[in-house]
């Protein structure tokens, strides 16, 4: 079983590290809205440029960010190729591959979708790499997200490695009893998988039952206001970033209303 990475935090002391976690969480939402407003990659590239600035402001290596999001890049590229293939009859042909036209519209439409797919992911990765999990939870609470939800995120990230090690133990126990998970007919293999899913779930029930007793004994009540080790305080830089995001968002909406930023056939020149 490949291991699941539960934290992306890089732990440096860059500018982005010091930014209020609430601002960073709002930034992910901002990226999502901004990338959805425009369909023209030229306009979308501005949003992507802010990701580049955030990467440098976070003191992160571009390679590390890209390798953490390689699955997203793969999905984005696949979508780009598919759009290029399916829109081969629209727009002006740029060149031909084995008799198939690659048109400007297909390339730009595919690029636009690929940017949409990858931008939110990279925004999340940059924020996750520059914010400890504890601060993300504090930030969520600060944004008035239900304490149950914020608390649950923290518990899940703690439970994943614990369940993972339980899973490994159960798998080894099953293997020592000569269970071969990758042999046999398809139905047989499915059945073999229940031989670890059921014990794993039973162990999970026991762990969670103990956890709830421990929480109850410390008088945990989801409805009481929480206190946090790190109190959130907006600095001047945080306020400037927030105002900047609002101004850019409003301007983008106005631009879009006036017809800018829409992908049209023939954008690269002689369209149909």
């Amino acid at each position: 079983m490949s291991s699941i990475r539960t934290s992306f935090y890089e732990g440096n002391s860059s500018f982005l590290f010091r930014v209020d976690p609430r601002v960073k969480l709002v930034y992910i939402l901002w990226i999502f809205v901004m990338i959805m407003i425009f369909t023209d990659p030229v306009y979308q590239s501005f949003t992507m440029f802010t990701l580049l600035i955030a990467t440098f402001a976070g003191g992160l290596s571009l390679f590390k960010v890209a390798s953490a999001g390689k699955l997203g890049i793969y999905v984005g590229l696949t979508s780009w190729v598919l759009w290029t293939i399916f829109l081969r009859a629209e727009g002006s042909p740029l060149f031909h591959i084995m008799g198939w036209a690659v048109t400007d519209f297909g390339v730009l439409k595919g690029l636009s979708v690929a940017l949409r797919i990858t931008s939110v992911l990279f925004a999340f990765l940059i924020v996750a790499m520059t914010t400890p999990t504890r601060d993300i939870i504090t930030g969520l609470y600060g944004l008035r997200v239900s304490i149950v939800f914020s608390m649950v995120i923290g518990i899940i990230l703690r439970l994943i490695p614990q369940f993972q090690s339980e899973h490994t133990t159960i798998m080894e126990a099953q293997r020592s009893r000569a269970t071969e998970f990758d042999k046999g007919s398809l139905m047989n293999r499915f059945r073999k998988h229940t031989s670890y899913i059921i014990p794993l779930t039973l162990r999970a029930l026991k762990i969670v039952s103990d956890l709830s007793i421990a929480m109850e004994s410390r008088a945990y009540d989801p409805y009481t206001p929480r206190t946090f080790v790190r109190e959130l305080k907006m600095r001047r830089a945080d306020q400037i970033i927030l105002i900047g995001m609002i101004v850019l968002l409003v301007s983008s909406i106005i631009l879009r209303i006036y017809g800018f930023g829409e992908l049209k056939i023939g954008l690269l020149g002689s369209g149909q």
């Binding site: 699955l71 829109l87 992911l121 990765l125 899940i156 929480m215």
Partner: protein
């Protein structure tokens, strides 16, 4: 079996083409609107019922056990998502979704906390796997529906522990219902967001979602048969948890 599954994929793809992609999209919109309204209603504790005024307020209160069950469901689901991806049934199209083995029955056994857990697991799973994107929004709504249908259709502990033949039958019918609802919702949203070309959405993604999830959930009743009574013993089942007042 592989040949049978490939032909099943082909069948659903042909079905979508014969209805036409526009027709499938309209059907998807017709299904997606009430699905989204019911989902939003539940966020505010309003539950859909089949009598006027169609939404009733449900009294719910989070407690320690409910919080722990949300976390357990989500963590288990994330882990099984990774484990299941190892078995490739039809290369490039269908992998065994082991998470479906718990997502379906957990809604029946643990009720609403598990429904929220399944939804959160989808967001966290996407974020940790590095595949978070605009499509994740539709993904978490359909994941929520995965457990929600079972939460609504199963009531007593005999039912969710799969102690009789009827509950087994109901399990497979509910799974098939979700496979269609989920596939329609996901594909309609993919088309709305222009994430993939229409042809790919309805002839590749639509059949893959139906077949993959059904195969993944096939042995769910076996899991429920063991986990249902165990959850009751630990005081974590939906009727022991006291999260909801009828």
């Amino acid at each position: 079996m592989q040949a049978f599954l490939t032909s099943l994929l082909g069948f659903f793809g042909t079905l979508a083409s014969s209805i036409t992609f526009g027709g499938m999209f309209i059907l998807g919109i017709i299904l997606s609107i009430p699905m989204t309204i019911i989902f939003i209603g539940e966020i505010f504790n309003y539950q859909f019922v089949l009598r006027a005024p169609f939404f009733v307020k449900v009294e719910r209160r989070w407690n320690v056990k409910a919080v722990a069950v949300v976390a357990m469901t989500a963590a288990l689901s994330v882990i099984l998502q990774v484990v299941g991806a190892v078995i490739v049934i039809v290369p490039g199209t269908i992998t065994f979704r082991a998470d479906a083995l718990i997502r379906f029955p957990f809604g029946a056994i643990f009720g609403m906390p598990a429904v929220w857990g399944v939804m959160i697991s989808n967001i966290i799973g996407d974020a940790l796997a590095g595949s978070l994107g605009p499509g994740s929004i539709a993904g978490f709504v359909i994941s929520w529906w995965m457990a929600y249908l079972f939460y609504r259709f199963y009531k007593s502990s005999e039912e969710y522990s799969m102690l009789n033949g009827n509950s087994w039958g109901k399990y497979y019918l509910t799974t098939i219902l979700w496979c269609f609802l989920g596939a329609f919702y996901l594909c309609t949203n993919f088309q709305l967001l222009n994430l993939l070309p229409t042809e790919v959405v309805w002839t590749a993604v639509f059949p893959a979602v139906i077949v993959t999830t059904f195969i993944g959930g096939l042995l769910g009743p076996v899991v429920a048969r063991v986990i249902g009574p165990a959850a009751k013993r630990y005081g974590l089942s939906r009727d022991e948890m006291q999260y909801e007042k009828e």
